[in-house]
């Protein structure tokens, strides 16, 4: 049955590579359709109530075990890559590295219960933090992507110095301390755990892994040891990255087995196999009882309460200028703040796909529970492009509803607020109009001011909050025009068209 491992590896590459490359791609050349690979992830499917995917993943786990963990989840595969790499750094004698280790039930079930309780209380804080797909997204977008861009820019520098512009300089991922911090924290944790203990992250911390473990206890096919042919050599145990094979007791902990099939390849005697569980009258291997002791209960409810309490605290109060304490500007299709905060897992897919890089992971703009959820930050030449709806079409969790281009062009992310006293035209009595120049709907337009000058005016009905005005306003540090985010995204009026000019001109006029 050695072919099973090979199939697993091929499948893992098939799922991992497109996801990885899609997160790294900074050229925007990969087709948006790649986002389908994100739709088949557990948490996004649950949040967007994608019943087909939920059904398929459920049946898959029930029949074959935790295939999701071994071959579909990018974070799981990343751990395999890390632990595979680690072999180049360890001594040859110690190449066999794993030993059976008992399950950490208190920890894993506490985390699972906590995540559920907090979620039921209306906060996706722990879902955001612990969803393996989103954790992978943060690691890929905050750590790997900057490296790739750095490499590209180094090439661009070398080539353009020689007059070759095949490579062009790409704007580096902007540094958001909290987002970066979370990414690096999880990456280090993951590296450490997978380096020494294989898939122990999946079996102690990941709530998805723990839940699937509950299913895989009963999976129709599972790994089991055959007493007659097994010589108790322990070869399988040494290859088990879940550390769930106890070769002395001849037991496999199904709840932690991720169906990687490494053990099958390790066994030369046919003492371990992947087979139908209910073949003979056989009671499923004795379950490790869910440790629901008083201690666990108290621990989880206490921690849950803390998280729920955090859920209430909203953004920190800003300094003096209203621009600092404005409401966050959500991406298009977020609909309402409540919907968005509850559904977004901060996977950063929209952030990496935003051609203008106006989307950035939030720090505390949405409060502590919305860390790494995307928001718009405007800076020179960085604003939401009028003819673009990419973010709304890649979101796997349904936090951003898919918008047609027509809908997107009318969706009000916020409203521009003009502060005349700061404006160049008012303060210096000089022409400017950069804001109106960049306004795609002419919600910001120029009206007569004194001395033949014109000054901006905002028609709020027409404003879609794209931030083009704010991005280009020369007044710094606090712009004379800025976008106040909308908690509920409304629809702007359709901008009126200019009168058509029908006369025929056949003279130069000079």
């Amino acid at each position: 049955m050695k072919f099973l491992k090979n199939i697993r590896i091929v499948l893992s590459i098939f799922f991992f590579l497109p996801i990885f490359v899609f997160f790294i791609d900074f050229t925007g050349k990969l087709p948006v359709q790649f986002h389908q690979f994100m739709n088949i992830q557990w948490i996004p499917a649950l949040l967007s109530l994608n019943l087909i995917v939920i059904g398929i993943l459920f049946l898959l786990s029930l029949f074959l075990g935790r295939i999701y963990c071994s071959s579909i989840c990018p974070l799981g595969i990343l751990q395999d890559v890390l632990s595979w790499k680690s072999r180049f750094f360890r001594k040859k004698k110690k190449k066999t590295r794993y030993n059976y280790s008992p399950p950490k039930n208190i920890l894993r079930y506490t985390i699972l219960v906590l995540t559920l309780i907090v979620f039921l209380f209306g906060s996706s804080f722990l879902v955001i933090l612990l969803d393996p797909y989103s954790t992978f997204g943060r690691i890929a977008s905050q750590l790997f992507r900057p490296l790739a861009i750095w490499g590209n820019n180094a090439l661009a520098f070398i080539f353009s110095a020689m007059g070759n512009y095949t490579f062009y300089k790409v704007e580096q991922v902007s540094f958001v301390p909290l987002g970066f911090g979370i990414a690096i924290l999880f990456f280090l944790l993951l590296t450490q755990m997978s380096w020494f203990k294989g898939r122990s992250y999946c079996n102690t911390i990941c709530p998805v892994g723990t839940s699937l473990g509950l299913l895989s206890r009963f999976s129709v096919f599972h790994i089991s040891m055959d007493e007659s042919s097994c010589t108790r050599c322990g070869a399988c145990e040494k290859q088990c990255k879940s550390q769930c094979i106890d070769s002395d007791a001849m037991k496999v902990d199904d709840s932690r087995c991720v169906s990687c099939f490494n053990c099958l390849s390790a066994c030369k005697k046919g003492g371990i196999s992947y087979k139908y569980r209910y073949m003979k009258k056989h009671v499923p291997t004795e379950q490790n009882k869910v440790n629901n002791s008083r201690r666990t209960f108290l621990l989880s409810s206490g921690a849950a309460m803390v998280s729920v309490a955090f859920a209430g605290t909203n953004k920190i109060i800003g300094k003096n200028d209203p621009i600092l304490s404005r409401k966050p500007v959500m991406p298009p299709g977020a609909y309402t703040l409540d919907h968005f905060n509850a559904h977004c897992t901060g996977c950063q897919l929209c952030v990496t796909k935003c051609p203008m890089q106006v989307l950035k992971p939030a720090s505390l703009q949405y409060g502590i529970t919305g860390i790494t959820q995307p928001h718009l930050t405007f800076s020179t030449h960085v604003f939401c492009t009028y003819d673009c709806n990419i973010c709304t079409s890649v979101c796997p969790t349904g936090a951003l509803k898919t918008l047609t281009m027509e809908e997107k062009k009318l969706t009000q992310l916020g409203i521009a607020k003009f502060r005349q006293d700061l404006c160049v035209v008012f303060a210096k009595e000089e022409d400017c109009g950069a804001c109106s120049e960049h306004c795609p709907t002419q919600a910001v337009h120029m009206i007569p001011f004194k001395k033949g000058l014109t000054i901006p005016e905002v028609t709020e009905d027409l404003c879609i909050g794209c931030g083009a005005c704010e991005s280009i306003c020369p007044v710094r540090p606090y712009q004379a025009i800025y976008v106040e985010g909308s908690i509920k995204q409304g629809m702007a009026k359709k901008p009126s068209e200019a009168k058509k000019f029908n006369k025929k001109i056949d003279d130069f006029g000079f």
Partner: protein, 310 residues
């Protein structure tokens, strides 16, 4: 050079420079110019972009007069916006393509095209149709989206703008053509050849915070003048500029204005534009300010203007 030739050209140079400075260069570079005087401004109406361009260049002595074999050429159109050609927010791609072809035909070693765009540069390059037209005719698109592509240049004649970072491709080339599109503009009233210079500069926000009109005029004192300003008025944007909202902002004038003189070509363009959307020339303040800085002349009557209808 023969003694007789020397006297001849010296006399012509003297006379020419007495009237207008821009003929000076022409005399020194091409002998045939001395025979019959070259127009200062050519206006063509009624043809397709490539045909009007070919005609205008012919009137000005042919492309070989401006581009020599082996030279590096830069073309600077307006590619500021992620808009299709029909919306006239960018220079007509056929015009740019035709110019690239002419330069390549004259033996240019490379023809580089760029603009410091307002919208996402890749989308603007692509959706304006300019990238395709340039590549198809043997030109090269160069990015301008990063400060590292620019070097600082002094503007000793500038009033507010004393220094600016200019795109290196432009600084390193032998010849360049300024190829704007004629548009209404919310901030600068109108954008033509001088306003197009904001696309060779890195820090545009300085312009907006230090009197936009004065800075545009200052930018026109840039020591490296374009061989020609080629104003695309095939489609013009009469309102809601510089981006435009829809095709109702666009008027098809099927015209082209060409001159080495920034001020003259902008003045002529404003007169053409005013027939569609009446605009006071003095409200486009940078034109008068540039004349004050001796960049060129608003007085078209003193110039040799060639008007051609096809």
């Amino acid at each position: 050079m023969k003694r007789r030739d020397f006297f001849k050209s010296a006399a012509i140079v003297g006379i020419a420079s007495f009237f207008k400075t821009n003929a000076l260069g022409s005399v020194l570079t091409g002998k045939e110019i001395a025979v019959h005087s070259q127009p200062d401004l050519v206006a063509v109406m009624g043809g397709e972009p490539a045909i009007m361009l070919a005609r205008a260049i012919k009137e000005l002595g042919g492309i070989g007069h401006f581009v020599k074999k082996g030279q590096k050429v830069v073309i600077k159109p307006n590619i500021g916006w992620d808009r299709s050609p029909e919306l006239a927010a960018n220079t007509n791609p056929e015009l740019v393509g035709a110019l690239v072809k002419l330069c390549r035909g004259a033996g240019a070693s490379q023809v580089i095209v760029f603009d410091h765009t307002c919208h996402d540069w890749k989308k603007s390059y692509t959706n304006s149709g300019i990238e395709k037209a340039v590549l198809a005719n043997g030109g090269k698109m160069v990015p301008a989206n990063d400060e590292s592509y620019y070097s600082e240049v002094d503007f000793p004649r500038g009033v507010n703008l004393k220094k600016a970072k200019i795109h290196k491709a432009l600084l390193e080339c032998d010849v360049w053509f300024n190829v704007p599109v004629l548009k209404h503009h919310g901030g600068a009233k109108n954008t033509i050849s001088m306003k197009n210079l904001m696309g060779i500069v890195w820090d545009r926000s300085f312009f907006h915070s230090h009197d936009l009109h004065q800075c545009i005029a200052d930018a026109a004192t840039f020591h490296k003048k374009p061989a020609l300003n080629i104003v695309d008025a095939y489609r013009i944007m009469k309102s809601n500029g510089p981006q435009g909202k829809s095709e109702t902002d666009v008027v098809k004038l099927k015209s082209l204005l060409v001159s080495p003189d920034y001020v003259a070509v902008d003045t002529a363009a404003m007169k053409l534009f005013s027939q569609v959307q009446p605009t006071e020339l003095k409200d486009v303040r940078y034109i008068a300010l540039a004349e004050k800085l001796k960049v060129g002349t608003q007085n078209l009557d003193n110039l040799n203007v060639k008007r051609i209808k096809l």
